[in-house]
Amino acid sequence: MFIHLHTRSCFSLLYGVRRPDELAEAAASLGYRALALTDINNLYGMHDFAEACGRHGIRPIIGVELVSGNCRALLLARDRRGFSRLTRITSARKRDPSFGLAAALAEGSDGLTVISDTPKLLGRLKGRVEELYAMVTPASRRVEREARRLGIPLAACAEACFLSDEDWRLHRVLRAIAGRTTVSSLKDEELAPRRALLFGPDEAARLFAGLPDALENTERIAASCAYDGGFQGFVFPPPPVGGLAPSEALRRAAIEGAERRYGELSESVMERLEYELSIIEAKGFSSYFLAVAGIVSRSSLTCGRGSAAASMVAYSLGITNVDPLRHGLYFERFLNPERRDPPDIDVDFAWDERDALIESVFREYGPDRVARVSTMVHFQGRSALREAARAHGIPDDEIGAVERRLMAQNAPGLPADIGATWEEIARLARRIRGLPRHTSVHVGGIVIAPDPIDELAPLETANDGSPLLGWDKDGVERAGLVKIDLLGNRSLAVVRDTLANLDDNDIRIDPLSWDPLNDEETRSLLARGESMGVFYVESPAMRQLQKKTARGDFEHLIIHSSIIRPAANRFIAEYVSRLKGKPHKPLHPRLDRILAETYGIMCYQEDVSKVAVALAGFSDADADGLRRVLSKKDREQRLNAYRERFYEGALRLGVEREAIDEIWSMIRSFDGYSFCKAHSASYAMVSFQSAYLKAHHPAEFMAAVLSNGGGYYTSGSYISEARRMGLSVLGPDVNASALRYLGRGRELRVGLMAISGLSSAALDRILEARARGGPFVSPGDFVERASPGEGDLLALCGAGAFDGLFGGARRSLQLRAMLRALAEHGAASMPGEGPALFANEAPWRISPRRGPLSGEELQVEFERLGFLCEHHPLELWGEALAGLSRSMGRELPGLIGRRVRVVGWPVARKGVLTSRGEAMEFVSFEDETAIYETVLFPEEYRSLSRVLDGVRPYVIEGIVEDDQGALSLTVKSIRCPGDS
């Protein structure tokens, strides 16, 4: 029977329209027993395809359609060796600019079957490739004669790309997107044939009736391609050099490290270490631990993520920083004898050190043995609509207008009067949504292998030139490659920079004896929720939770940073009540012990597995499967199967239906993302370090937060916070500012990095000139030594960076003087003009000293910095706000239950869906005195969210409510100042 050997899925990017599973399903239902996937120059879809074939009971054939210059060929893997060759050639096609298909195949084609319809290629490969066929298709038999002359057997093929006629329309849109053109300008040669359908065996027999030998060959080829892309064992980093066996090297390193951490090793520590080491060794993971430890040792500060933080070996090696014994973290969540999946050690590094770190890994292991993991970028609803519209020649401003209309509508479907063109675009966009678009580099995933990686997996080249795997993290995992995640974390840089800034100010904190966990001021700051800028606990929701619970100890912080999940709102409220003494009884006696420390509420990821085992009799492996499914994108279907088993098991064990319902809904609150306790503990440690620094060294801390680009909020919000903390914010100054923000005592000096429009070259020159020749003394001196461009002067002047130099003259006059100096300098540096550089220097000091900054000066300063140094940005709206009677933010605690009018500058917004699927929103505002939280319930959200369309002040009316000890304003109306 005919088998499709030439099939393109949507992973033939911006070409194919069907997912591999759709193709596999269609082939199975047509009665085929096997199907090949041959995407153009890549293997992106291979694992999805193999899995889908398994589900639909057909055999996958793994291949690729290699196109290079005028040549093309299908390459099909017959066995593991052939697959290795396939990845090697595919990688070379992507990475080697001098790649030639004929030469690559002639060099070796063991285990590969090659089918081509390029006569030239067939001629060159004849006698060099053992399994070589000439491609004949229903549309073209142009190579037949040449093949018969050369004695090359024929293979019957047909490009299969579509499952329905409608698919072709979608294909055209994708081609137009790829070519950045419009569908009506596409040429035929850029498109797949309209009839490139996956047809059935009967149709195949009819189409190839005149070519019985070709049909027979196709059948034989399909039968011979036995490689199915399945898992063939883990691939770990190579063992360390030096002769020691990896397990022995790991043991020594772990024990040495433990002695550094604990001093003399107690029996319980030794016991735990031995236990962990035995499991690690038995599973063959020793070299992986050593590789991660090696990477971590090169970095200033790190923070382990995920379940690895429960490992004492990881703690001893310095990969993680929380003592698993002291905080009751269970190693089994990370590794246990039953688990089949690889260990996953993810580590955070200071965000600005990560790139150099990854480079060092490439250097250490060799560029052919390390590769970064890719991630597939898919069309989202918005990009699909946008691109489909562009492919129809709609200009961007109209697209934007339609998007705003759709957004304002806040309901699915299109407005009735949108017109036929947009209806067609929207229809196509719905299908484009979810299709893969291009690969990108996964934020931190790398794979280290003992052999050249291109023999194991397809490679391409990332934008920065480094080797990039042609698979995403799931593909990498399915292929058995063990990845290491090196992730960037801003707060680690904040802690590092604060410590460095303190060091410059002659304040030293000894990292070994530093114990923020037991610092009273730190705990109290966290308990008050005054944690803007503090790692992981600075979001409005988290600060509100801190205020409600009024707990700032480490154990509670671990709970809080775990329980705060999008789907867990209801349980958070219950948690707070219980913490405040509301009596409760466990949902089931069996859960009593498991959930005791979290007041009977499921909080950590592992609680899901523990509950499934205890309550529904799941095996450890099944329970772990349930936990993992909850975080998958396509969870719904698989989750239903688990649900049935959960109910069945629990009923069998005599649990009441009501309790099961309640527990299952708690399990569902882990939808999307959730954390294990070890991860939260690891993060809470960094939270404590940053909270300590905020409590004791506010200026240095806030400077480091701002220098690292902040976190949840804008720079302006951190500046306001700094002012609320009683710090003086000193503006940027060419003579006093460094590149970064700096703190000292109660003063925070804005860094030159804050000035938008200042070129980095000029910035470097300013700092260098100042370091070499001291402060700038005049406009001419500045222009001469720092060689700024005109744009730099505009930026510096607007930001007020010359205020010091000019003794506070009006900034427009400063600018005039600077531009004059620049013009004179330009004229003087013309050849032959002589050295009279500062001839016009004398009258540059402009008097008189200015009064307060004018409205225009403030406006420009705001444009340049994104904030005002001496004022809240509400100052810019002074006129519009004058005469408005309003309460101030800091007065709200005294106004509980009252309807108030306040003015607010939006600092954070978070939209959520209610349990009924209605949109509502939490918005944080600040005024000159305080930051405060508001909520727009669905009804108000519908009518008011449109008003909130920019970063500017709003006049808000609402009712001040006390929600379990945290204040919130329930919004009733919002308007812009000046509107009535």
Binding site: T181, T182, S184, A391, G393, P395, R810, L815, A823
Partner: protein, 389 residues
Amino acid sequence: MERQVIHLNVAHFMAAVEEALDPSLKGRPFVIAPEGAERAVAVEVSRAAFSEGLRRGMPLAKARAALPGLKVLPVREALYRRAGAALFEIASGFSPLLESPGGGHLFVDITGTRRLFGHPVDCAARLREEAVRRAGLRPVAGLAVNRLVSKIGTRVVKPDGFVVIGPGDEPGFLRHQQVSLVPGVGEKLLGRLGLLGIREMGELASLSDSDASAFLGRHGPVLRDRARGIDSAPLSVHRAEERGIRASHLFDTDTSDTDEIEAALRVIVEDAGVALRSDGLAARAVEVGLSYSDRLRARGFAALSAPTWRDAELFRAARTALYRAMTRRVRVRRVAVALLRPIHAERQAELFAPPEAAKEEALQAALDSIRSRYGRGAVRTASAMNLLA
């Protein structure tokens, strides 16, 4: 001799023309937009519509939402062209030195016409009156010593009025005007002037040469001079012939279909070709202009190897120019063609021309004679037919 330049400007020109034809429209808000087109935008808004907040280029749907029941008139290009020509004609009676930038603007240099038409102020007033009487259009008028000051004058009194800035009064008149009125000052320059604390023309006018260059760059002194009202440039007077022969097509619905755009191009090339031949001219170059859906414009140019009046050759060149212009993936709203650098053609038979050329010429002559008897649309190239269907 003191120069005297009048600037006439009919505000909301297209709408004003419609109002002149149908006085019942006066004072009513309405817009002009392509008929029946999906996603149309207002090409012009009436004065009353303008004061209700409607603007040119606003999507019709949005305009309608703002003013329910809004009246929408179809675009009548030929009519506006005729009205522009009428205004030009009236002004021609006062001076041969006219500059017509289009869109209801007209500059008239009446220097030295005192003996013929009396005092410049009277002359300008009369010109304005005639525009009202003969064309039904009521332009704003500015009289000053040059184009620059007269134009600033009308911008100040717009949408209705007559302003005279006598010789020597320029500094006083301009001093407190906003710098944004200086020709050449766009948003960016305005921002720069603001940073320098310069808001009124007088402040700009007072800059020294070196400051003007230091603050505003190479063109600083020119801008400064403009703020002083200095403009010695003569009007750019063009005769119709030199401007070339133009035709354009506005699509009912914006399109990116190249077949449709080419078909439209063929029609307008044929239309312009008829005009070219009836004037006994041959073109030496073709320019194609496009307006996209988002109102951005693009132009493409193609020179002809030899002057020609034949549609087929004109179209080939126009097609080349079209693809030079059409570089964006955005729908096209209007396509226009200009047959440029026309010269008087010597249409005698070329003795040694190849027989195909003679055939083509015979065909062209036959087509033109049909068109002259039955109208331009009577015969069309087949590929242009689907557009007209």
